[in-house]
Amino acid sequence: MDGQPSGSGEIRLVNVTKTFGDMDAVKSIDLVIPHGSYCCLVGPSGCGKTTILRMIAGHETPTSGEIHIGEQMVVGLKPVQRGTAMMFQSYALFPHLSVLDNVAFYLKMRDVAKAERRQRAREMLERVQLDHLAERMPAMLSGGQQQRVALARALITNPRVLLLDEPLSALDEFLRLRMRGELKSLQNELGITFVHVTHTQPEAIALADMVVVMDHGRIDQADTARHIFSRPATPYVARFMGGQNVLSGIVTETSGGVLAIADASGPTYAASASGTMPAVGTPMSFVVRRDRIALTKGASAAAGEVNAVNGRVIATEYQGTYVKVTLDVASREAFVANIGDDTYFADPLRVGDEVTARWATADVHVLERADTGAAIDPYAEDAA
């Protein structure tokens, strides 16, 4: 349609680096986003996720490396030649044009006759259920409506890749959840590749087939949402995505596929090793999911008991289906247990109570990289 590149929306980044002045925004990244997938780039602000999106869109040129979309090497091509469309964070609607003319802008640039472009823009507006607002100016629309206009303006280019720069950040919580669902079903319906930049972890997990967690211009982990959440690769990913307790120690024994790990502050842990056995004496980090922790009252963990830590309750937070219990344990950071509401309210805890947290060896996931022990990273206390 309209002679633009069709076909595969697979995106391949090969050794892409982007430098601004003497600062590396993106450091030699390799990434493959499969055709027709919903990919979320997630990370704190300044981690380079938006730069990657803008390089795919063609609004930024990589300092080195290659970007391929489908069969095409797209570095140096204009956005329309790439078959990408971008939805901007502030929506970037043209304030001097009506909703209809905003959507028809692409067709106007292609010299489509006025009657036809108005007709096609109207059809696109019907699709996002905004045809009744076609003659309004963007300033007269609500945030959610503006976003739909931006979406319609992007989709009318018939792209093979839709790039979304924090599309939901300007909306209130209720609208955000609704638009989230709509984006996902839209992607299912269109079957094109969506690349979505966000700094909100639940958004990434809810939407994405593929989550790419970034930090300081590097990709920490790129995997399915389920793997990112339950089998994080690094302490950073575990803390950033939340829902995990990160623990560290030194390997003291390896036997029968089980590692024994000792924490300098006392407790010992067991974990089943995957892949190669680490040598005795290596520092090791692992995670235990918060919802896999069992609590019993009283500091009952005996010396030498594995996967049991004593702690004191410092906060409890009711979350509806579960209660988030924060414990002060001997390790550096707070330890969190999410206890099902029925279980919790059968025998509620109070701040200051001594408790023991226990978990099964099977619920321990060993991280690829040990915690450096440097300053506690800012995501240690997650937002979830």
Partner: protein, 286 residues
């Protein structure tokens, strides 16, 4: 509530007094004097006569002067508009470093670091028959004899006007452009707009306020000038204001006042037309 109202009036009073003293009273005086009678050797004689206006409107010279003024205004408006737009465009969208942009902006103000007279006299060594341009053309053999219309001509007047007034176009356009969200330009490129398409469809419509304000500045400055036209044309051209100036020299204040009123009406009409085209007030609150 009552005292509140009083407070509001008190707050408005200083501005009102300034406007009354420096705008309303002088204008009223000019209007009144324009109906007075002029008597040789006596000067002003209070009266209510339309003679000054009839004199003015029945005199072919005043039509010639007004025609020449409006011609200069339109030509200067077109040139400063194009220059101002592109200079502002360059400063806002192509200079990424704010410091460099401020530096270049200051460079634009360099002509204003010296007095008006010196600025105009300085054109003589450039445009004169033995000036820089003519010497260069002669030496390179492009022309056989010096081009005479470079100085003391309408051309010279326009050069001086453009030199003096382009900044008044740049500043408001720069201000309007600086408020354009850069993402809009990217969105336009994303939708397949060429560089020219972005300028025509996005930057130009969103700079309209600046262009309108700049146009009002330039129109009022050119229409109100008699000095540049006199110096740069060598007395060959005149402007509406130079008619007023001449009347003042002969102490014919009533006719000068009548001329001023007519000029004011024309300038106001042009300004109204400009503001009709662009709703500046709406854009300013944006």
């Amino acid at each position: 509530m009552k005292s509140n109202r009083l407070l509001t009036y008190l707050q408005v009073t200083p501005l009102f007094l300034v406007l009354l003293l420096f705008v309303i009273v002088p204008l009223a005086l000019v209007l009144i004097v324009s109906f007075f009678r002029y008597q040789m050797l006596v000067g002003l004689v209070p009266d209510f006569t339309f003679k000054n206006y009839i004199d003015l409107l029945s005199n072919p010279t005043s039509y010639k002067l007004y025609f020449s003024t409006i011609k200069f205004t339109l030509i200067v408006l077109a040139i400063t508009g194009v220059l101002g737009f592109w200079v502002a465009y360059f400063l806002v969208f192509h200079v990424r470093n704010l410091l460099v942009a401020i530096g270049l902006f200051l460079v634009c103000t360099v002509p204003f670091w010296t007095s008006n007279i010196i600025r105009m006299i300085s054109w003589r060594p450039v445009l004169g028959t033995e000036g820089l341009i003519n010497t260069a053309l002669l030496e390179s053999g492009l022309v056989g004899e010096p081009i005479s219309w470079l100085l003391f001509s309408d051309f010279a007047v326009i050069v001086a006007y453009v030199h003096l007034f382009t900044l008044f176009m740049i500043v408001p356009i720069f201000n309007a452009m600086a408020r354009i969200d850069k993402a809009l330009l990217e969105a336009a490129v994303d939708a397949g707009a060429t560089r020219w398409g972005v300028v025509w469809n996005v930057v130009l419509p969103l700079s309209k306020t600046g262009i309108a304000l700049g146009a009002v500045f330039v129109v009022t400055l050119v229409m109100g000038d008699f000095f540049v036209v006199a110096v740069m044309s060598g007395g060959l051209s005149g402007s509406a204001t130079s008619g007023i100036f001449n009347d003042l020299q002969f102490l014919n204040y009533p006719r000068a006042a009548a001329n001023a009123v007519v000029l004011l009406i024309i300038v106001l009409l042009i300004a109204t037309a400009i503001f009709r085209l662009v709703d500046v007030r709406k854009e300013l609150v944006r």
